[in-house]
Structure formats: structure tokens, C-alpha cells
Amino acid sequence: MTAAISLRDVRKTFGDFTALKAVSFDIADNEFFTLLGPSGCGKTTLLRLIAGFEGTTGGTIHLYGQEIEGLPPDRRPVNTVFQNYALFPHMTVQENIAFGLQMLKWPRADIAARVAEMVAMVRLGDFVHRKPAQMSGGQQQRVALARAMAPRPKVLLLDEPLSALDLKLRQEMRSELKRLQRETGITFIFVTHDQEEALSMSDRIAVMSAGEVQQIGRPSEIYEHPANRFVADFIGETNLIDATVEAVEGQIVTCRLPDGETVHALANRAASKGQSGTLSIRPERLTITRDPPPGESLKGVLGASTYLGTDTHYEVRLGPNLSLTARMQNAEDAALRLDEGDPVHVSIVAGAARFLVT
């Protein structure tokens, strides 16, 4: 099957600034693909290159096997949902949605039918004659989606479309977007800096930093098996500890922590004795107990804690150079409550520690 989008050595520079360094990957047909990264990582630039708002400095972009580099945006069968929607302020909802179809010279009756269909799909029936300024952010967002999807694009590009919405609406729109993508079967390329958004919606995620793709994979792969320190740090919360390899046993390495303790971890790639790297342990994969648990554990003293409703964050000081953050579900039993200064034992859930070779 031909890839929806195929990028080969795509580069982009703005003067002295390199926004993208030779990016190559494929996005499959009918995929919800997310470009995730901090601001300035090149994700929006990549989206704008696919849309045609910017030209590449080098490399090729294919859309379903057809080279699209050099084509202006109005001749690429892709549509964009803009960050602040960019709805035409002088046009009603209906006119906004119909605009692309008019430009494609659809027959009048077909346009009316398609607009009605889109309006129903994004549930905006009562608003067709309103102008954007008379609508809430969430409603404008739906208009922007309907407008971009009306011409049946082969690929829909979404540039941080949820960032202007408040939290509750953002969560609603996540499932809405996922539903729209499934129903229409259009390939979505979604740009965001919000890892939760990326994890909850995507089929696959490309984590980007400094103009390069750091890792591409399914959400669980990215979260469970980060390719490097940047990905481990950017996706979710984690404890990152400098460590050196003591012993290697297949993929499992024994690593030594700054204060001399040793921990077993799964290495991201072949490691050898004496090699230095980073140990990554998610806070929710740490268990704190008063009494020493069976198996491997580290001794420490409980530091500050932060109550977060369903669970609590604890700081545990393990030694002069090392402290960890653990996230524990709040127990109903008050007797299990831990206080600052209590001596505790920290154990790592089996197979949860990752050693990232530098």
C-alpha cells in the first residue's frame, strides 16, 4: 500500500536557522499520526511544508506516490485546520464551509448537500447563519474542522487545533477528533506540544526535537520504551538518573547509581560494561513501603509530598546525590499514610526501569 505521506531527507532552513534536518518517514493511509515536540522543534514547519505554505530547502515529499514539492497550497489535495482556526470573519458558518467547494467549482446542489452533511457531522445545525465572532471557541473549532474536511482532502493537517480551548472542551474535542477520523477514514496529521493529547488520540507519534525526529512509534511504545533521554523526559513524568553499567546480561543491565546502589534495567540498545547512560523510572512504577519488600529495594527517607486527589507525589531522598519522585494511589486506610521524614523502602515494579545508553 502506498504511504499517504512519504518524506525523504526533508530539510528546511530559514537564513542561518535550521528548522528541519533531513527528516525521513512515512505516514500510512488512514492513520492518526501526531507530530509531538516542544515549541521550535520543527513540527509546525513540517506541517507547513506538507501544506505548501513553505517550500523545502531539500528532500522530497510524496502524497500517495505523487511528488507535491513545488505545487502551491491551492493545488495540493490536503487541507489544514489552523491553530486559531483562521475562519473568514465576514462569512457565515455555511459560507466558510462552502468556500473550498466553491473554489473547486462543485455544482451548487452538491455544495449545499455537502455543507449540510458537514454541519450535521460536527453538530452545528443551529449555527449555520452565524458569523465566527458570534460563536464560542469550541464552536469555531468545529467550523474549522468542517471547513477543512468538506473538500474531502486526502490528508487533513491539524496545527495545534485544541490549544486555544479550555481543558474540559479540549478533552471533549479529543474524542470528537478521533471519532471524525474513524468515520471519514481521512489520514490525520496532528501537531501538538501536549503529550497527553498525543498519547490519547494517535495511532503513531513522531517525537521531534531540534529539527530531528527522535522516535516514531505507537503511544505505548513511546511511553514504555523511549528511544533516548529526550523522549523519556518529554513524554510523561520520569525520574532520570545518571548511571553506569556494572554488568550486562542480554538486554538486562545492572547499573550503578551515583550513591553506589545498583538497579536492574532494560537497555534501549546493546550496552557494554562501564558504559554511562541514563536510568529512567516512571514515578507510578515505584512503590513506597515502610517495611522492606521482598526482592530488590532502595532505602530512603520520605521528603515533601503533593496531594493530587486520586494519588500523591512523594519525594524520596535515597542519598546525598539522589532523590526520586514516586506516585502512589491514595489508600483509603489512614494507617498507611506516610509522613515527611519517615524512613521508607522504594521498590521498582519488575521490568519498569529503562537504561538509556548515551
Partner: protein
């Protein structure tokens, strides 16, 4: 915007008890320099003329009658429509319309150009546009006359290039008046359009392009409708003073380009004038301008609805 409104509310709450008094200077100035003179003109237009300028306090419709009707040399023939003044009036409207269109044609691309420059250079471009306007209007109009007269630099240049055999008779033509009006009021077109284009969100253009609109369609269907308030404001700011202009027609035009502004000016100049007639012509001009502004206001309120 929100913050400004918020603080505005606090200030207005603080000053509410004396707010009426704070507005007094503005009302005094508007009343003294605008309302009273206009009322004075209105009253004068219904008075009888004094032969060496000034008025006699005898109410009459003679001034309006003179503007609209011809009653023969001795005023005893049956009235026919007096076309002379109406022609001047129509010519003024055409000249003002022409000047407005010319300003729009040149001003829109200029404003667009300036508004799309990097932010730190825009002030320089705007400054360049406004530099000539620090010079007195009279001097500027005379300089246009100097430029386009038969043995002026423009004709010398064209002759030297061999593009023309003899000087183009540009002076004392409608074209010369157009040029003068255009040059006098161009910034009034550029500045409001610039302000509108500067606020224009270029993501709209990208969105239109993304939705398969070619360049000219984007301009016609998106850019122009969105910046329309600026265009209309510019057109009004050029049209209104052009309609009553007298410097450009006086200095650059001839007898065939006589405009309403010159007609009014002459009624009040020296001892030969006819004050009530000048006042009546002014009132008619003012009514025309008010009609234009009313249409604009109605369009605006319909837009908002």
C-alpha cells in the same frame, strides 16, 4: 482589549459624579468651532445679500433660488432650471470621485506594501509617505503646477526622450485637477487602509489558499472584504475634502474645471462676493456630504447586524 475596557470602567466609575463637567471643554470646542459656524451659515443662506459683502437681515430664499433657477437678466421671466451651478456641482462630484478612485488605486497597494514590511521598517515607510505633508498644501499644489506646466520638468523630460514632439498641454485640464487632488489627499487613503491591513490576519489568506483559492480570488473574496472598513474610511476621507477643494482647481484647472469649492470661496473673497449665495452653496455641499456619510453609517450598522 479586555484589560483596557476593565480599567476604563474603573476610571469612569471614579469620575462618574463629575463626568458631565469633564466633557465640557470638548463640547465647548465642538460647539464654538463647529455647531455655531454651521448654524451661522445656515442662517446667512436665508438672508439678503449686501452688495459689498456681508448680509442684510431680511429673510429670503433668494440664494437657493439663484442656485437652482434662472429667471432671466432682470428676474422677471418664468423660472427655468439654472444648469450652470448644477453643472459645477456634478463636475465636483465627478472630480472628487475620480480623485478617490485614483487614491484607492495607488493607495491600496501602497498600504498593503507597507503593512507587509517587517514591523521595524513600517514606521519608516509611513514617515516617507507623510513627509511631503509637512509642507503647506498651497506650496505643494503650486509645485505640481510647476512640474506639469508646458515648459516644466515633466514635459522637458518627455521632449528630451523624444516621446512627444511638443509639450503635453497638461495644465488647466481635468487631469491636472485630478492629479492635484490625488496628491493632496493620498495619505488620507493610505493611512486607514494601512491600519486595516496591519490588523489583517494573514492566516486568512493561507486558509483560503489551502482551500484551493488562487491569488486574485483571495484578494477579491477575503482580503478586500475583511479590510473594507479601512477602504471605506479612506474613501470618505479623500472624497469629502476633494468635493469642497478649491486650491487644486484654482491653481491647476481652468474655467472648464471650475469646482464648487472655488465657487464658494469667491462668494466670500474681497468685496465682490455674495455671502448668502456662498452660504447656500455650502449648505447644499454639506447636505451632499451628509448623504454620503449616512449611506456609510447605514452600511456599517447592517454589517454589524
Amino acid at each position: 482589549m479586555a484589560a483596557g475596557t476593565g480599567s476604563g470602567r474603573t476610571v469612569s466609575a471614579t469620575f462618574r459624579p463629575i463626568r458631565g463637567w469633564l466633557l465640557l471643554p470638548s463640547w465647548a470646542i465642538i460647539g464654538f468651532f463647529m455647531v455655531i459656524p454651521v448654524l451661522l451659515m445656515l442662517v446667512y443662506s436665508f438672508l439678503t445679500k449686501e452688495f459689498r459683502g456681508g448680509v442684510i437681515w431680511e429673510p429670503t430664499l433668494a440664494a437657493y433660488d439663484q442656485f437652482l433657477f434662472d429667471r432671466g437678466l432682470f428676474g422677471d421671466e418664468p423660472p427655468t432650471i439654472e444648469w450652470a451651478y448644477i453643472t459645477i456641482f456634478i463636475r465636483s462630484i465627478l472630480q472628487a470621485t475620480g480623485a478617490t478612485l485614483l487614491c484607492l488605486l495607488i493607495g491600496f497597494p501602497t498600504a498593503f506594501f507597507i503593512a507587509t514590511r517587517p514591523a521595524h521598517t513600517r514606521a519608516i515607510w509611513l514617515f516617507l509617505i507623510t513627509i511631503p505633508y509637512w509642507v503647506n498644501l498651497l506650496i505643494r499644489t503650486v509645485s505640481v503646477r510647476f512640474l506639469i506646466r508646458d515648459n516644466g520638468p515633466l514635459n522637458d523630460f518627455l521632449l528630451a526622450l523624444g516621446l512627444v514632439d511638443q509639450p503635453l498641454g497638461l495644465i488647466n485640464t481635468n487631469f491636472a485637477v485630478q492629479l492635484g487632488l490625488f496628491y493632496s489627499y493620498l495619505p488620507f487613503m493610505v493611512l486607514p487602509i494601512y491600519a486595516a491591513v496591519e490588523r489583517y490576519n494573514f492566516a486568512f489568506s493561507e486558509a483560503a489558499s489551502d482551500l484551493y483559492a488562487p491569488k486574485w480570488t483571495i484578494l477579491r473574496r477575503i482580503v478586500i472584504p475583511v479590510v473594507k472598513p479601512g477602504i471605506i474610511a479612506g474613501c470618505i476621507l479623500v472624497f469629502v475634502p476633494s468635493l469642497g477643494a478649491f486650491l487644486a482647481p484654482d491653481l491647476l484647472g481652468g474655467a472648464k474645471t471650475y469646482m464648487i469649492g472655488s465657487l464658494i470661496e469667491e462668494q466670500f473673497k474681497g468685496n465682490a462676493g455674495n455671502w448668502p449665495f456662498g452660504a447656500a452653496a455650502s449648505m447644499i455641499l454639506l447636505s451632499m456630504v451628509l448623504v454620503v456619510l449616512l449611506f456609510y453609517a447605514r452600511g456599517q450598522s447592517r454589517e454589524g447586524a
